[in-house]
C-alpha cells in the first residue's frame, strides 16, 4: 500500500497516452466511425466490379463521402453494391457511379459524378447510372488483338 500521488498521476498519464494512441489508430488511421448506421444507404449495380472490396472508399469530386458496405449478386447475377454515405449528402437522382482505379496499379474505389436533376436520392434508393471497372488484362488483350489484326491487314 505504497501511496504515492505522483505515481498515480504518472500511471493516469500513461493510460491516457495509450488510449490516445489506440484512438488515433482506430479512428484517424483505421477509419472507424461511430454511428455508421444512420448514414445515407444507396445501391448501385455493375456488370463488372473488378477488384472493388468492401470498405473501399466512395468519393465525390475527389472528396471521400463514404464507403462500400457490402457486395453481392442480384437476381440477374450482376454485382450489387451497397454504399454507406454521409447522411446529409445531396446526390441528384441522375448521378453516375463509376469504379475507378487509384493510380495505375492501385486499389479500386467508387467515384460519383453529379447529375443535373433537382430531386436527390434518398436512403434505400438505387443509383441508375453506373460504369463498370476497367480490367487491365482485357485492355491489353484488346490492344494485342488489334495489333495482330493490323499486321494481318498489311
Amino acid at each position: 500500500m505504497y501511496r504515492n500521488a505522483t505515481r498515480d498521476f504518472v500511471v493516469g498519464l500513461f493510460v491516457l497516452a495509450g488510449l490516445g494512441a489506440v484512438a488515433y489508430l482506430s479512428f484517424s488511421v483505421g477509419g472507424l466511425s461511430l454511428g455508421s448506421n444512420g448514414g445515407l444507404q444507396l445501391y448501385a449495380t455493375f456488370d463488372q466490379i473488378g477488384g472493388l472490396k468492401p470498405r473501399a472508399k466512395v468519393e465525390v469530386s475527389g472528396v471521400r463521402v463514404g464507403e462500400v458496405e457490402t457486395i453481392g449478386l442480384d437476381k440477374d447475377l450482376r454485382a450489387r453494391v451497397e454504399l454507406n454515405l454521409e447522411k446529409d449528402l445531396k446526390l441528384p437522382i441522375d448521378s453516375t457511379a463509376s469504379i475507378v482505379t487509384s493510380g495505375l496499379l492501385g486499389d479500386q474505389y467508387i467515384s460519383l459524378q453529379l447529375g443535373g436533376e433537382e430531386d436527390v436520392l434518398k436512403s434505400g434508393e438505387e443509383i441508375t447510372f453506373t460504369e463498370s471497372a476497367v480490367i487491365l488484362e482485357r485492355l491489353i488483350g484488346q490492344f494485342i488483338h488489334s495489333t495482330d489484326v493490323g499486321e494481318a491487314e498489311k
Binding site: 504518472v10 500513461f14 493510460v15 488510449l19 494512441a21 489506440v22 488515433y24 488511421v29
Partner: protein
C-alpha cells in the same frame, strides 16, 4: 540407443504435458482470484506503473527505430517498382499487423516479464508467500493476480504507442530524409489501414500476448526453486518460453484471424 532416445522423448513429452496441466490450473486459479473481491486496486495500479510506465522508454525508442528502418527499407524497395508513394501503407500495415504487437510483446517480456518473475521468485525464496499463507491470505489473490492483470491491460497500450512512434519514424525517414510528400505518406497510410481487419486484429494480438506473458512470467516466479539460482533460472526461462510462445501464437492468430 534408439530405444533410449524414444524413452527420453516420451519422458519429455509427459513432463511437457504435466507442465501444461499445471500452468492451466495456475491460470484458472489466477482468473478466479482476479474476479473475486476484494479488488486489489492499489496493487494493480502499482503494477501498471512497474510494467507499463517503466517500459515506456524502451517501447517508444524501439518503435521509433523500427519505424525508421521500415521507412528506409520500405522506400528502397518500393522505389524499384515506382511505388514509393505507398510507403505510408507499407510502414503502417507492417507495424499494425505484425511488428507492433510482436515487438512490444518481446520487449515487454524481456523487461517487465523477467522483472515480474524475479519479484515473485524472490518472494518465494524469502518465504514471503508462505508468510501470507500462514495469515490465511491467498498469495495468488494478493500478489499474482494484480501482476497478471496489469500485464494484460498494459500490452495493448504499449503496442499502440509502439506503432504510433513507428509511424512517426517512418514519416521522419520517408518525408524528411527521402523527400516524400507528407500528405501522400499519411493518405496512403489511412487508405490502406482498415479498423476491423488491421487495428482490431492488432489490439487483439496484443491482448492475447499480454495474457501469455502475464501467465508465464507469474507462473515461473511462483514455481521457482527457493534459492537465488532457482530464481535466476526461472527468470531466464520466462524470457525464453514467453518469447517463443508469443511467436508461435502470432502465427496461429494471424492464420485464423486473417490479419
Amino acid at each position: 540407443m534408439i530405444v533410449d532416445a524414444i524413452r527420453h522423448l516420451g519422458g519429455y513429452t509427459s513432463r511437457f504435458i504435466d507442465e501444461l496441466g499445471r500452468i492451466a490450473v495456475f491460470g484458472s486459479q489466477t482468473t478466479v482470484a482476479a474476479v473475486t473481491p476484494p479488488a486489489r486496486v492499489r496493487a494493480f495500479v502499482d503494477q501498471v506503473y512497474n510494467l507499463g510506465v517503466l517500459s515506456l522508454v524502451i517501447i517508444c525508442v524501439s518503435g521509433l527505430a523500427v519505424g525508421m528502418v521500415l521507412g528506409l527499407q520500405g522506400y528502397n524497395t518500393l522505389v524499384r517498382f515506382g511505388a514509393e508513394e505507398s510507403l505510408g501503407a507499407v510502414v503502417g500495415l507492417s507495424l499494425i499487423r505484425e511488428l507492433g504487437p510482436v515487438f512490444t510483446a518481446l520487449l515487454t517480456t524481456g523487461r517487465a516479464g523477467s522483472a515480474t518473475t524475479a519479484e515473485i521468485g524472490t518472494m518465494v525464496a524469502t518465504e514471503q508467500l508462505d508468510g501470507l499463507r500462514m495469515m490465511s491470505i491467498s498469495p495468488i489473490h494478493l500478489i499474482v493476480a494484480p501482476k497478471a492483470l496489469a500485464m494484460i491491460a498494459v500490452m495493448p497500450l504499449l503496442s499502440a504507442l509502439f506503432i504510433v512512434f513507428g509511424l512517426a519514424g517512418g514519416y521522419v525517414v520517408g518525408v524528411w530524409v527521402m523527400g516524400l510528400d507528407g500528405g501522400t505518406y499519411v493518405s496512403s497510410l489511412e487508405s490502406a489501414v482498415v479498423f476491423s481487419d488491421d487495428v482490431l486484429g492488432s489490439l487483439l494480438k496484443a491482448l492475447v500476448f499480454g495474457v501469455l506473458v502475464g501467465l508465464i512470467a507469474t507462473y515461473r516466479g511462483y514455481t521457482s526453486a527457493p534459492t537465488s539460482a532457482g530464481v535466476s533460472r526461472a527468470t531466464t526461462s520466462t524470457v525464453v518460453v514467453a518469447s517463443v510462445t508469443v511467436l508461435i501464437f502470432d502465427y496461429f492468430i494471424t492464420a485464423l484471424w486473417g490479419v
